[in-house]
Symmetry: C2
Subunit: 251 residues, 2 copies
Amino acid sequence: MTLLDTVVMRGLGLHGALSPEDKALLLGLELNPKRVSAGEVLWQEAADVDLFCVVKEGWAYSYRNLGNGSMQILKVYLPGDIIGMRDFGFSRRLAGVAMINDGVVSPFTYQQLFDLFGHSPALASCLIATTVRQQAMLTERLVYLGRYAAHERLAHFLYELYLRLQRIGAIEDNGFAMPLSQEQIGDALGLSAVHVSRTFSMLRDEGLVQRDRQHVALPDPDALARLVEFNDTYIDESLPPAFQAFQKLER
Amino acid sequence: MTLLDTVVMRGLGLHGALSPEDKALLLGLELNPKRVSAGEVLWQEAADVDLFCVVKEGWAYSYRNLGNGSMQILKVYLPGDIIGMRDFGFSRRLAGVAMINDGVVSPFTYQQLFDLFGHSPALASCLIATTVRQQAMLTERLVYLGRYAAHERLAHFLYELYLRLQRIGAIEDNGFAMPLSQEQIGDALGLSAVHVSRTFSMLRDEGLVQRDRQHVALPDPDALARLVEFNDTYIDESLPPAFQAFQKLER
DNA sequence: GGGTGTCTATAACATAAGTTATGAATAACT
DNA sequence: AGTTATTCATAACTTATGTTATAGACACCC
C-alpha cells in the first residue's frame, strides 16, 4: 500500500496525471520500510518531532494519556495513511502513536517533506488536502462525542472504518478484521469498555452489527449509514475546481 | 487586528523578518473588510467553498446542526483568526459559521490563497502551521469531551479563551468580555444549558470563576490551569528548528 | 496440557448529566 | 414606562453511562 495508491489514485492529486518528478517525490517518502510489531510505540507524547510515517501494513492509533489515568484515542490509522502530520509545525508531539497489530511503516523526515513542498506546490497542496481530510474525520468524532449517544457513536465509528477499509480493498462480504479491543474502542469513543460491550450487544440484537472476536460484519451497511445519518462530505475525496485549476497551472 | 499582528508577531513566521513581498501578500488577504452583525451567518454547512475570512473584530463560531435537533459548536474564532481553512481542499463546507457579536471580517478567495502559496512557500508553511494549530485546539476539545467531566470541560474552555485573548491583548484584570450564552457554551462542550449553569455555579463557589452577564473573570488563572492540567504544547507558537531553517532557505 | 492472563458478556448498583419546570433578572421593543 | 422575550439559577426527577464484580471463552506460555 503506497501513497500513490491512496493520495493519488483516490482522485485527490492529479487524476492519474502525475508528472514523473511528482511520482518520484511521493515514492521518495516510502524508501525506508520498517517492520513494527503489535503494541510498539512509534513515538511518545511530547517527543521531538523529527519524522512522519506512511503506514504500509497494519493499523496504528494516536493517543493521549491523561492525568486522570484514562486514555483518549484520537485517530486510527489504516494502510495508506500518513501518521504525524498533525504535528507539522510543532516542536513536540501532541500525541503518542502506537501500533495496534504487526505491520510495516515507512518513516520520512521533515527535510523530505520540505523538499517536496519546494519542488511541487501541486503535490504539496494534495498532501495538505489529505491532512485536512484526516482532521475532518476528527472533527466528525468531536461532533459524535459531544452530541450523540453511545450506540450512535459506535455505529458511526464502525461505519467510518467500513468506508475507509472499502477504499483500500480490505472489506470482504461486508466484513473486516478488527484488531481493536473493546477497551480501545471505548478509549476512542469516550466510553467505558463495559458500555462498549453492552452497545455491541444492542447493535447485534438489532441486526446491525455482527462481531466475532477480531472480525466485524455489517450485514446492512446502508441501514447503519441511515442510523448515523452519515455525512460523507468529509470522506469525499474529489478536490474543488479552484484546486484542480491550480494544480494544472503549476505543471 | 491584522494577520501581521497574529500570525507573524506571535513568533510564527519569520521572527520579525518578513520580506516586503511576504508582508504585501499577507496584507493582501485583508483588503476587503466588511461589517457583520451579531448572529449573521457567514456561510451555511454544505455551501460551496469559495472564500475564507480573517476576523478583524468580534467573535465567530463554526457549528454543525445535527439531525437530532441539537447543535455542536466546533470552534470559537477571535480577532486575528482565519476562518474556513478547515474547508481547504473540500468542495463544500463541512460546517457553518456565524458571528456571535457585531464585528468586521475580511474575506479572501481561493485564488488569493493559491497566489500566496505559489509566491512564498515560507509564508504558506506559516499559514499551514497556523491551521494545524487551530486543529490542535479542536483535538484538545475532543480529549475533553471524551474523557473529562463537565467542570473540567468548562474550566478548560474558559482557560483556553483566557490564553488566546491574552495574546491579542483583550484581557483586563484577569477578566474578559464573553459574548457566548450558556446555551452556546453547552453546544461547544457537549452539555445542556442547565448543566452549564450548574457548573458555573460550582466553579463560582470554588472561587475559580466569577461571572456577571457577559463578563468573566478568572481570579486565579494558575489554579484553573492546574485544575485542567493545561497542556500548553498546542498553544505554544514557536516553530521547530527544521521549519525555521526551511524558511531561511526560501528567502 | 494445565496454568495464567486477557478479553468479553452480563448483572447490580452508583452517579453525572439530561430534562422539564418555574421564577427572577436582564435586555429588547414599542 | 410597560410589555415581551432572553437568559440564567435552581429544584425535582429521569436516564444514560460509569463502576465494580463475576464468570466464561479464548490466547499464550512453559
